[in-house]
C-alpha cells in the first residue's frame, strides 16, 4: 500500500477533533478529502505531515511509519504539502521560493556553500534550471524576480504548488489549492492536477470547490465532525444521502432547495 492511514485520532481540548480516520491512497491516483468547514480535513493533513502528533493511530507511507517523524523527515521520504493559509517565503523572490522547494535535490552544505567549493555553482545552476521549468509550467514566468508577497493571491497559490513540485515529491498533499482562484485559474489548475497524475505523482487534496474535486478525483473521502462519513468514487459520493445532509443541513423549509440546486 502506498499510503495507509489507520485509526488516526486527535483531540484538541473539546472543540475540534479527528476520530479514527482510516483510508488508503494508491500510487498514482488523485484522492480528495472533502467535508464542511471544520470537519477536520486540515487536521488530517497536519497529522500526516508531522505538524502535530496524533493521539492515537498511525500512518504508513510505502511501509514506513510516519508517526513521530518531523515535518522535514516526512518531506525527506517523499511527501510534500501546501498550506491552506499560504505559507510562502514572502521576502524571497518567486524563483528563490521555488528553489527552496528543490532544497532536497541539493547536496551542498553550509561550509561548501560558504566557500563556494567546486560543484556548488553547477548544482545551483541545475536547481535554477529545474525551478525555472516548473515556474514556466505554472505560468509564473513573468514574476520570477518579484518577492512572493507582491503577487496576487491566485499566483501565490500557484507559487506554492510550484514550490513543492520543484522538489519532485512522490506524494503531494494539497490543502485547498483552488481557493481564491478565479474560474479560469481553477480550470487550469484542474487540468494541471490531471497532468501531474499522468506524470506519476500521487495527489491528496482537500478542496471546497466541488467541480474541481468531482472533475479530477479518482476517489473521495468525506469527513464530518472529525469522522469519515463516506468514501468512494465521485459518482458514489454524489449519490450519498449522508453527504448531502452533512452539507445542506436538514432539508427543512428552505424554499429553493427543491429546485435546480439538488
Amino acid at each position: 500500500m502506498f499510503l495507509e492511514v489507520s485509526g488516526l485520532t486527535k483531540h484538541f481540548g473539546g472543540v475540534m477533533a479527528v476520530e479514527h480516520i482510516k483510508f488508503n491512497v494508491n500510487k498514482g491516483e488523485i484522492f480528495a478529502l472533502i467535508g464542511p468547514n471544520g470537519a477536520g480535513k486540515t487536521t488530517v493533513f497536519n497529522l500526516l505531515t508531522g505538524m502535530i502528533p496524533p493521539d492515537e493511530g498511525g500512518a504508513k507511507f510505502k511501509g514506513k511509519n510516519l508517526v513521530g517523524l518531523k515535518p522535514y523527515q516526512i518531506r525527506n521520504i517523499g511527501i510534500a504539502r501546501t498550506f491552506q493559509n499560504l505559507q510562502l517565503f514572502n521576502s524571497l523572490s518567486v524563483l528563490e521560493n521555488v528553489m527552496v522547494g528543490a532544497y532536497l535535490s541539493g547536496r551542498k552544505g553550509f561550509i561548501q556553500s560558504l566557500l563556494r567549493l567546486s560543484g556548488v555553482a553547477a548544482e545551483e545552476e541545475q536547481v535554477r534550471k529545474k525551478s525555472l521549468e516548473v515556474i514556466e509550467e505554472l505560468g509564473l514566468g513573468k514574476d520570477i524576480n518579484n518577492p512572493a508577497s507582491v503577487l496576487p493571491f491566485g499566483k501565490q497559490r500557484l507559487l506554492e504548488i510550484a514550490r513543492v513540485l520543484a522538489g519532485s515529491p512522490e506524494l503531494l498533499f494539497l490543502d485547498e489549492p483552488a481557493s481564491g482562484l478565479n474560474v479560469g485559474e481553477t480550470k487550469k489548475l484542474a487540468n494541471y492536477l490531471k497532468k501531474l497524475k499522468k506524470d506519476g505523482f500521487t495527489l491528496v487534496l482537500v478542496e471546497h470547490d466541488m467541480e474541481t474535486v468531482m472533475n479530477v478525483a479518482d476517489r473521495i473521502l468525506v469527513l464530518n465532525f472529525g469522522t469519515v462519513i463516506a468514501e468512494g468514487t465521485p459518482e458514489e459520493i454524489q449519490r450519498n444521502d449522508e453527504v448531502k445532509k452533512a452539507y445542506l443541513g436538514e432539508e427543512d423549509q428552505y424554499e429553493y432547495s427543491g429546485c435546480k440546486w439538488s
Binding site: 473539546g14 472533502i34 507582491v150 496576487p152 483552488a178 452539507y247 445542506l248 436538514e250 428552505y254 435546480k260
Partner: protein, 250 residues
Amino acid sequence: MNILDVNGLKVFHGHAQALRGVTFHARKGEIVAVLGANGAGKSTLLGALSGIYNAKAGEVVFNGKPINRRTSGYIVKQGLILVPEHRQIFNTLTVQDNLLLGAFHRYNKDKSILYEDMERVLETFPALQGKEQQTAGILSGGLQQMLAIGRGLMANPKLLMLDEPSIGLAPMVVAEIMTALRKLREDGTSIILVEQNAAAAFKVADRAIVIERGQVVISGKPGELVNDERVQQAYLGRTRDQAGTVAMAL
C-alpha cells in the same frame, strides 16, 4: 431607509489589495447575506466596517454618520457591532462577564438595565441559561457561538454583523442560531451575515451580495441570486451545466 451605506471601500493588507472598492448598502431591519469564496474579502470587509482595518479609500455612512477612519470604540458606540469569526469569546472569563463586557461602552450608565438586557439575551439563547457562572472556554462550540452573538447583543446593536457563525457547528445548532437571527430582525435589529454556507444564509437573508476578489460582483434577493448565472460563475466557480455537482458546494 439605509442604515449602512458603503461606497468604494478599499483596503490593503500590506501590498495585497484585499478590497477593491466595495459598494453596497443595508436597509434598516433587513438581513443582508454577504457571500463569497474563501479569501474573497468578506472578513476584511467586516473588519474594515468595524474599525479593525483601516480603509485606504472609500466612504462608510452608518445611521447617517460617517464612520470610516473612526476608532472601533466610536463605531461600537454608534451601534455597529461585529460578532467575529471563530467566536473569539473571552475563554477564561465567565459567561456573565463575557456578556457584561459586551456592554462595555454603556457600562457607566444604569447597571440594572444591563442585567435586564442580559436576561433578554438569555431568553434569546435559552441554552445559555443557568450557565452564567461557567467559564466560557469550556462551553461547547455551539454555546460559544451563542455567547458570542449574545455578547454582541449586549452592546445594543442597531446593526449586527456576524462573521461565519455556522462554522464548525452541527446543522441543528446552525438552525437554532438562524432562528435567533430571524427573531432579532423581527425585533428591529438589522443584520449583516457573512457565510460560506450559502444554504444556511439564503434561508434567512432578505438580500444577498456576492463578493469576489475584493469586489461586489452581484447583489439581489436570494431567489434571484440562486437563478443568476453570474452568481454561479462568480461565487461557485462553475457553470450551470454542472448543476449536479453544484449542489455539493452547498
